[in-house]
Amino acid sequence: MIEAMGLTKRYGAKTAVDDISFVVRPGQVTGFLGPNGAGKSTTMRLIVGLDRPSSGSVTVGGRPYAQSAAPLREVGVLLDAKAVHTGRSARGHLLALAATHGISSRRVDEVIELAGLQSVAKKRVGGFSLGMGQRLGIAAALLGDPATLILDEPVNGLDPEGVIWVRTLTRQLAAEGRTVFLSSHLMSEMAQTADHIIVLGRGKVIADSPVAEFLANASGAAVRVRSPHADYLAPIVQQHGATVVPVEAGLLEISGLTAPQIGELAAPAGIILHELTPIGGSLEAAYLSLTQDQVEYHSQGVPA
């Protein structure tokens, strides 16, 4: 269980995390979403005491992380793949971390195997790909068999097999009753992994709810309808309260009605439908609509 209370972090004049409060519960995967610069990584660093909060507090299992008698057994953390000395071997790195807590070299070899690093365990980390670095970071997080896992962008740089591995692993860890706190930019990935979602925008919590509720509340859900009779269909659905956006000839985006409702309206009017696809209402769309105004770094179109 992670509990943040009025957590604030300022770097000079810039407020990275602005008075946020949230609870991350055990037994489920909690997704931590937000655009670049929203304060996700800062929040995670605050939880494990690498950064000092400007005000407020955060506890893990009821007390500040630094007061734990066995921090690595309390919290396993993947902050970024670069928190490793490039001149040391993967096994050397894990052995050094394990030694602080008297964790056996058997456990080190266990997590090496778990992360699929056997073939490169003796190689220096400097030559690792981004994906290998991530696997090493996750192996390090698992060393102490911790009750809480904090993973910052764990699938970053992983191949599809690795992405599935992380998904399966985090689901399994949560099923064992652990607290799993996971940040990601990949909304589709989060939709398949998380039970609960906390969205951060410009240092503030802008959503904190179960995934299902998050989707239900999301604005912008629409249905894409392709029909040779699009011009006839539009006024019919509008009469039933829908909003129609013509995309191109014969293609509409209708919001305010579900796909079955639109199909049932079209049938008695004898309107032929070539496509009836619910769009939006995905985590991706919900997230984008939610964070539209919260994005710190907008990409601009390339000037003509």
């Binding site: 055990p26 037994g27 489920q28 660093r45 494990v48 005491g49 690498l50 950064d51 000092r52 992380y65 630094a66 734990s68 008698a69 066995a70 921090p71 690595l72 057994r73 953390v77 902050l79 970024d80 670069k82 928190a83 490793v84 000395h85 490039t86 001149g87 040391r88 071997s89 050397g92 790195h93 052995l95 050094a96 971390l97 394990a98 030694a99 602080t100 807590h101 008297g102 964790i103 390090a140 068999d145 009750a147 949560a174 099923a175 064992e176 009753g177 652990r178």
Partner: protein, 285 residues
């Protein structure tokens, strides 16, 4: 809650301990190539320079001086150069962690931070002391017959000479820890190494020249309390029967006994160590 609970009794499991942190720092030190290289160079410099001078010293060259003095000189001659290696390595053991991001892994495992830095300094000091001592003793034992062949008569049963040699190894370790403290403060390899070498190599040379030209007592005293000058008194072999000078001579110039010089060096380490400790607690990692 439907999920099962994890590891019912976690209190039986091993915890964070200072011994564990020491072991961790030991593993960290010896799993990097830079460590092996630096210590190899340190041993080479101590032994090679010592033997070189021992092989070339003759009674006519030293003017029939005290054999013990020149024996200790030969055994510790390399220190002037190998101290630069300990400065570099002392800085690297900590700035290497800041530069690569390893420090975040270290401080996540040891959130109190100070224990990790202390253990690092302690392990580095002990290893440097032992390796320094072995290389100096080896040099002393190898150079004694060389000196004897040249007509000098070193007495290997002279306890004072051995104390000076142990002092030389301690000096290497303390200079290394001083550089480590600078590394904690500066957090950048290039900056820390430059500052360390500046303090150890450049400052005594430049200030010494100024002191020599001006003959100002205060300037000579500034040079005397620098880590290198004060510290080098630790491994000075005092000629038997020589008049021991007062701490402050009549013309106001400081003169340290070996133990006093050692205390001055320890004071440097303590002051910079306290500053480093305060900063490491205060800063974001």
């Amino acid at each position: 809650m439907t999920a099962t609970t994890v590891a019912p009794d976690r209190s039986q499991l091993s915890r964070l301990s200072f011994g564990g942190i020491m072991k961790s720092e030991w593993i960290k030190l010896f799993t990097l190539r830079s460590t092996i290289w630096c210590y190899a160079i340190l041993i080479f410099l101590n032994v090679a320079l010592g033997l070189l001078i021992a092989a070339t010293l003759t009674p006519s060259l030293v003017g029939g001086g005290n054999s013990q003095f020149f024996w200790v000189q030969a055994a510790t001659l390399g220190i002037g150069f190998s101290q630069l290696v300990t400065v570099v390595l002392g800085a690297l053991v900590i700035t290497g962690e800041y530069g690569t991001g390893m420090i975040r892994s270290t401080f996540a495992a040891v959130p109190g931070r100070v224990a990790a830095v202390f253990a690092k300094a302690l392990v580095f000091a002990l290893v440097t002391f032992v390796i320094g001592l072995i290389s100096i003793v080896a040099t002393a034992l190898l150079s004694a017959p060389l000196l004897a062949a040249n007509g000098l008569a070193p007495d290997v049963t002279d306890g004072t000479a051995w104390v000076a040699m142990i002092g030389a190894a301690a000096y290497l370790a303390l200079i290394g820890v001083l550089s480590l403290a600078i590394g904690v403060i500066i957090r950048n390899s290039a900056g820390a190494i430059a500052s360390g070498l500046g303090l150890v190599l450049v400052a005594p040379a430049v200030l010494g020249i100024i002191g020599g030209i001006t003959q100002a007592a205060w300037m000579q005293n500034v040079v005397a309390v620098l880590p290198t000058s004060a510290g080098s008194r630790v491994y000075a072999y005092e000629l038997a029967g020589s008049d021991s000078l007062p701490l402050l001579s009549s013309d106001g110039v400081l003169h340290f006994e070996p133990w006093q010089g050692g205390l001055v060096l320890v004071a440097w380490v303590v002051v910079l160590g306290i500053l480093a400790t305060v900063l490491v607690k205060k800063r974001d990692a």
